[in-house]
Amino acid sequence: MPNHAREVAVVAFAQSDHRRHTDDLSEVEMVMPVLHEVLDRTGLTTGEIGFTCSGSSDYLAGRAFSFTMTLDGVGAWPPISESHVEMDGAWALYEAWVKIQTGEADTALVYAYGKSSPGSVRDVLTRQLDPYYLAPLWPDAVALAALQAQALIDAGDTDEAALAAIAARSRTDAAANPHAQLRGPVPQGGHEVAPLRTGDCPPIGDGAAAVILAAGDTARRLCDRPAWITGIDHRIEAHGLGLRDLTDAPSARLAAEHAGAFEAPVDTAELHAPFTSQEVVLRKALRLDGTVRINPSGGPLAANPMMAAGLIRIGEAAARIHRGESRRALAHATSGPCLQQNLVAVLEGDKA
């Protein structure tokens, strides 16, 4: 694991109450409360933040440069040092972490948001596929995940009962999470696309999240129990599904190696596995055994706001360290069909 020059920690995290529809809110109105919450928690103002970075998608917003509007929610005046990734907010956090490593900033505000409710997200995500060979067939995200689930079942890695248990555990845990969209068990229901049942799929919804990062003593000043990012890395795989072994996630494992995840056990893992079957893949790739608490927040099976759900995994893992409920946690984010791209962060509390 590389020794990075600066210690960087998550010092504050906030998220919206994730909902199936937010017709009453613009994206700016959805983002502003979480921005204010993390700023209030640290006592920082926009002008005191060294770097700001966000993640969102124009395709979900249905307009070009949609992030220019949410920048209004930040209050970028006087002008700020700022950037944006067309990726999940977890990668915005990565860009901010790099910025702090350069020494050009001591603090960073990271936020992400997505409204899936205005369109059919299953259809929208087909536009993310190879435009020449795959997208013209319109295979939707559930169908592709089902392909992966069937490969897992065929390989003997899981079965429908085991998947149902993951769904039940996630929603039961979410009962204690006031921000979750599905709180408490829901029926597994019929097959959406066999072998995945309704309960194996994430809820579709709208939401936002924000994180503040800080370096070294600044982090200690802003937070009683900073969640130190001791390692963070991300890797991508080939896009063509035919080129991949869908029962494995080598890019997740590689990212975990580079993040130092395997150097010591973790007690908690927040996995961005929108489908129950993907948790099976990730547990194997990330070598998470039965002693690790998986998705105590309920995970993306309880709330999956596109573009924010990965950042929320890092935030939830950090919040657990902030509350003294975890010593060493792994947070994971994903993007693309069937876990094509994966990010792993390792967060640690101070040794008591």
């Binding site: 220019t68 509007m69 920048l71 067309e86 490593q101 993310q128 890395d233 991508i236 080939a238």
Partner: protein
């Protein structure tokens, strides 16, 4: 902790044209990336990470196309980041890549930006009606024309200045084999006689719509020592953003642009940009933005920018050449345009700009802006390593 010095050791562009019907999107980006690697004397396995940028995904109709492009860019098993900061994105992307080297997270990074605008219509792609938000009015030209008008009114610039910029940039483009527009018969009279599109911006004072990609290989000191050709060294880089619309916003000379330039000059130790910078590649999508940015970037006092243009100072043989490559006015694959500015600045200080080389250029500024004149990205590169 001091930052690792960042060197540009490889640059590759496609020949920018209206429509590359002969290649896929993957084929387009790979062409630029391969040329950058060849320039650096490197191959795909030498790259530690890929940072890609482009403007709105609607321009090609592919959502987050970097996922599909991972294979074509040799990114499988590597980190891949996708930046999107509106028109400034090409510049921002290069800066994000540079930070990976500066922070010593990676040693050698491939950065690339592209747009394949022939896949759709950029003007209308930018003009989707969104309820309860201000309309963009027929694309970027409709949005920016009133701000040009405000500049003319504020400074008393004669209305001939815009055509001088276009005439210069289109002639410079004739010396750049990668430029989109090669108007061999161009004359000032032709520019002045071209149709009015968005008053006061004429057809010939407007950027084209291009298919193209630009790539750079960025590396650390050790990488630069191994490189077969001279490096361009990063002396300063910054991004600044401000809101689109707010009471007190100065659209003619946005504060974010001034702040961004000031940060870059501070990092690079520049106190008199007009004297100390030898060439400028600035983002001029509409001719009048040259005098406007000359003031915003501190090359001229407020109200004086147009006088530099009028006096020929910004010509290729003037004492502050602006857009020797022909600029955005001659080549505009939107998502790549900022990176082309950054790359052309680097070519100048590497002495590798060919026919449009500014003799002896030692320091050059690359500039990009986007959104409602609200996102700025700039870098200053030099022929010598920074003194740290």
């Amino acid at each position: 902790m001091s930052k690792e010095p960042v060197a540009v050791v490889g640059i590759g562009q496609t020949k920018h044209v209206a429509a590359r019907h002969d290649v896929s999107i993957a084929g387009l980006v790979r062409e630029a990336a391969r040329r950058a690697l060849d320039d650096a004397g490197l191959d795909w396995p030498d790259v530690d990470a890929v940072v890609i940028g482009k403007a709105p995904d609607f321009f090609e109709g592919v959502m987050m196309p970097e996922l599909y492009l991972a294979d074509a860019l040799g990114a499988v098993g590597k980190p891949m980041l996708r930046v999107h900061t509106a028109g400034s994105v090409g510049g921002s992307t290069a800066l994000v890549a540079a930070n990976l080297v500066a922070a010593r997270v990676h040693r050698t990074v491939l950065t690339l930006a592209f747009e394949k605008q022939s896949e759709s219509n950029a003007m209308w792609g930018l003009s989707l009606p969104v309820p309860f938000q201000q309309p963009l009015l027929a694309g970027a030209g409709g949005f920016f024309a009133p701000h040009v008008r405000a500049y003319m009114r504020r400074t008393g610039a004669p209305d001939t200045v815009g055509s001088l910029v276009a005439y210069k940039d289109r002639r410079n483009a004739l010396k750049n084999p990668y430029a989109h527009l090669h108007e061999h018969g161009i004359t000032l009279a032709k520019v002045q006689a071209s149709p009015m599109l968005w008053d006061p911006i004429r057809y010939s004072e407007t950027c084209p719509s291009s298919d193209g990609a630009c790539a750079m290989v960025l590396t650390d000191r050790a990488g630069a020592a191994r490189a077969p050709r001279p490096a361009a060294w990063l002396h300063g880089g910054a991004m600044r953003s401000e809101p689109t619309l707010f009471a007190g916003k100065d659209f003619v000379s946005p504060q974010a642009g001034k702040d961004c330039a000031a940060d870059v000059y501070r990092q690079a130790g520049i106190t008199d940009p007009r004297r100390e910078i030898d060439a400028v590649e600035m983002y001029v999508p509409f001719s009048w933005y040259e005098p406007m940015w000359l003031e915003n970037l501190g090359f001229a006092a407020e109200g004086e920018g147009w006088k530099l243009t009028e006096a020929g100072v910004t010509e290729l043989d003037g004492d502050l050449p602006v857009n020797p490559s022909g600029g955005v006015l001659s080549t505009n694959p939107i998502g790549a345009s900022g990176m082309i500015r950054f790359a052309e600045a680097a070519l100048q200080v590497r002495g590798a700009a060919g026919e449009h080389q500014v003799p002896g250029a030692r320091r050059a500024l690359g500039h990009a802006y986007g959104g409602g004149a609200q996102f700025f990205a700039m870098w200053l590169v030099g022929s010598e390593p920074p003194q740290t």
